[in-house]
C-alpha cells in the first residue's frame, strides 16, 4: 500500500511539474504570437493583398490559446493536488478543446506558409506596384499598401524586385504603364541612394552599372521573416502539444486512480 501511495505521489509530482511547464509555455506562446502579430518587418500589406493572410489568423489563435493554456494549467495543478475528480474532468475536457484550437493554428500556419512562393510575390508586385487605376476602394487600399511596402523594402534592404531588377524587364507591369522603359528600366528606389534619398548616379543606375544600382532580389528579405513567423507558430505549437499530450494522458490515468 505504501508503494502505490508513493507511486501516486510521484505521479502527482510529475503532473504538477508538467502543468507548470505547460503554463510557462502558454505564456511564451502568447508573447511570441503577439510579437508576430505586431508585424515588426512591415510585411503584412503584402499578405493582405494576396488575400491569403491566414498565418496571421494562426498567430491570433495562438495568443488566446497560450493564455488558455496558462489558466488551465493552474486549474490542473489545483485539481491534482486536491485529487478532485470533478475538477480534473473539467480540466481534461477544457484542455482537449484548447488542444483542438492549437492544432488548428499549427496546421494553418504550416499549410499557408507553403503558399508563399516567389512567384506569388512577383505577380503581386508586377500587378500592383504603382498601379494608377485602381478598380475600387479595396483595390486602392491594397495597391497603396503594396507600393509603400515595396518602396520601404527596396530602400532598407538595398534590393530590387523579387529575383532582381530583371523582373522589371522580363515582364510588363502596372509600373511600366506609367513609367517608360527608357527613363525607368526599373524603379528609382532600386538605385543606390545617398544620405538625402536621391540616387547617387542616376545614369549609372539606368545603365545598370554594378555599384550604382541594387542587383540582388528582395525575396530573401520577405521570406526570412515570414518563415520565422510561420515556423515559429507551427513548430513551437507542435512542441507544446506533444508535451500537453503526455500530461493529459497522465492526468487521465491519475483521474482513473482517484476516488470521490
Amino acid at each position: 500500500m505504501a508503494k502505490s501511495d508513493d507511486g501516486i505521489r510521484i505521479l502527482q509530482g510529475l503532473l504538477v511539474f508538467g502543468n507548470v511547464v505547460i503554463g510557462m509555455c502558454g505564456i511564451a506562446l502568447t508573447a511570441e504570437c503577439i510579437f508576430f502579430v505586431s508585424d515588426p518587418h512591415g510585411l503584412y500589406p503584402l499578405l493582405e493583398a494576396t488575400e491569403n493572410d491566414d498565418i496571421y489568423a494562426a498567430a491570433w489563435i495562438g495568443i488566446f490559446v497560450g493564455f488558455a493554456l496558462f489558466a488551465l494549467s493552474i486549474l490542473g495543478i489545483v485539481g491534482v493536488i486536491k485529487s478532485n475528480r470533478t475538477l480534473l474532468l473539467v480540466y481534461i475536457i477544457l484542455m482537449l478543446i484548447t488542444y483542438a484550437f492549437e492544432m488548428a493554428s499549427c496546421i494553418t500556419a504550416a499549410t499557408h506558409r507553403d503558399f508563399l512562393t516567389p512567384n506569388l510575390f512577383l505577380k503581386q508586385m508586377l500587378e500592383r506596384y504603382q498601379k494608377s487605376e485602381p478598380d475600387n476602394n479595396n483595390d486602392k487600399w491594397m495597391t497603396e499598401g503594396v507600393t509603400k511596402t515595396w518602396d520601404k523594402l527596396m530602400l532598407q534592404n538595398q534590393c530590387c524586385g523579387v529575383r532582381g531588377p530583371s523582373d522589371w524587364q522580363e515582364y510588363t507591369s502596372a509600373f511600366r504603364i506609367t513609367n517608360n522603359d527608357a527613363d525607368f528600366p526599373w524603379p528609382h528606389n532600386c538605385c543606390v541612394m545617398d544620405a538625402r534619398g536621391s540616387p547617387v548616379n542616376l545614369d549609372g543606375c539606368k545603365l545598370g552599372v554594378p555599384g550604382y544600382y541594387n542587383s540582388n532580389g528582395c525575396y530573401d528579405a520577405i521570406s526570412g521573416p515570414m518563415n520565422t513567423h510561420a515556423w515559429g507558430v507551427a513548430w513551437f505549437g507542435f512542441a507544446i502539444l506533444c508535451w500537453t499530450f503526455c500530461v493529459l494522458l497522465g492526468t487521465m490515468f491519475y483521474w482513473s486512480r482517484t476516488e470521490y
Partner: protein
C-alpha cells in the same frame, strides 16, 4: 600629270572602310539591352579622321543595310528618328567629334553609348537626330559613319543584328504553390494521431466512469475492518483484545 591629279582627287573623296564592328557593351551592365534601349561600346581608337569630322551613329533595320546610301544626310526626313522605321528605314543620331572618343581608353573606365536614352524629343519633329527610345524589339543593325561637312569620309562595318528584350505578361506567371512540404505533412499527421489518442482516452475515461457509477468495484477502496467487541460484564478482568 592629269591622271595623277585625278587619282589624288579620288583618294581624297574616297570612303575609308574601317574593319571595326560595333558591339554591345559588357553583359555585366544590367541595362545592356532593355525593351527600348541598348548600350554600345564607344568606338575608341578606331577612327583616324580630322578633328573637324563628325562621327554619327546609324541605326537601321536589317533590310536597309544592303543598299544603304551614305550620302543621304542626317536631319533629312529619310533619316529622321521620328519616321523610323516606317518611312525612314534608318536614322542617324549621337553625333560627336573625335575629341569625345580620346585614344587610348583609360583602363577601368566605362565608355559606352546608350542608344534610346532621350525621351523628351522622341515626338518632336524639329529634332530629327533625337536619340529616342526604339519603337520595337528589333532586330537592328548599327554602324558609325564619319562625315566631313556632308561628305562621308569613314565608316565602320555593320554590327550583328541586335535584338531587344520582349516583356511577357505577368498573367503568364504560375502563382499556385508547388505543393505541400514534408514538414507540414508530418506535423499534420502526428498532431491528428495524438488528438485521436486523447479522444479515445477521454471516451475510455467516460465509459470507465459510468461503469464505475453503476456499481462496479473501485480500485482503491480501503477494506472496512469489522470489529467486534465483546462485553463481558461479569468477567471484567478477562476481556478479549479489541481488534482493529
Amino acid at each position: 600629270m592629269f591622271p595623277l591629279l585625278l587619282l589624288l582627287l579620288a583618294r581624297a573623296h574616297g570612303l575609308e572602310e574601317i574593319s571595326y564592328t560595333p558591339t554591345l557593351a559588357s553583359p555585366t551592365l544590367g541595362g545592356q539591352t532593355t525593351a527600348s534601349t541598348f548600350v554600345l561600346e564607344q568606338p575608341r581608337c578606331v577612327f583616324k579622321v580630322q578633328d573637324s569630322a563628325v562621327i554619327w551613329l546609324v541605326v537601321a533595320v536589317p533590310e536597309a543595310v544592303a543598299n544603304f546610301n551614305n550620302s543621304v544626310g542626317p536631319g533629312t526626313p529619310e533619316r529622321a528618328f521620328q519616321e523610323f522605321p516606317t518611312k525612314a528605314p534608318a536614322y542617324m543620331t549621337l553625333n560627336t567629334t573625335l575629341l569625345n572618343y580620346p585614344c587610348p581608353k583609360p583602363p577601368g573606365e566605362i565608355t559606352v553609348l546608350r542608344v534610346g536614352s532621350e525621351t523628351n524629343c522622341s515626338k518632336d519633329e524639329m529634332r530629327p537626330t533625337c536619340n529616342g527610345p526604339l519603337p520595337g524589339p528589333g532586330p537592328y543593325r548599327v554602324k558609325f559613319l564619319a562625315l566631313e561637312g556632308s561628305e562621308p569620309v569613314a565608316q565602320t562595318a555593320w554590327s550583328e543584328p541586335i535584338t531587344l528584350r520582349t516583356a511577357r505578361q505577368p498573367g503568364s506567371i504560375p502563382a499556385m504553390g508547388s505543393g505541400h512540404s514534408a514538414g507540414m505533412i508530418a506535423l499534420t499527421s502526428i498532431l491528428s494521431i495524438l488528438f485521436a489518442i486523447l479522444l479515445a482516452g477521454l471516451v475510455a475515461m467516460l465509459v470507465f466512469w459510468s461503469s464505475d457509477a453503476c456499481g462496479g468495484s473501485s480500485t482503491f477502496s480501503k477494506p472496512e475492518a469489522v470489529t467486534v467487541r465483546r462485553y463481558n460484564t461479569h468477567h471484567v478482568y478477562d476481556q478479549p483484545p479489541a481488534r482493529l
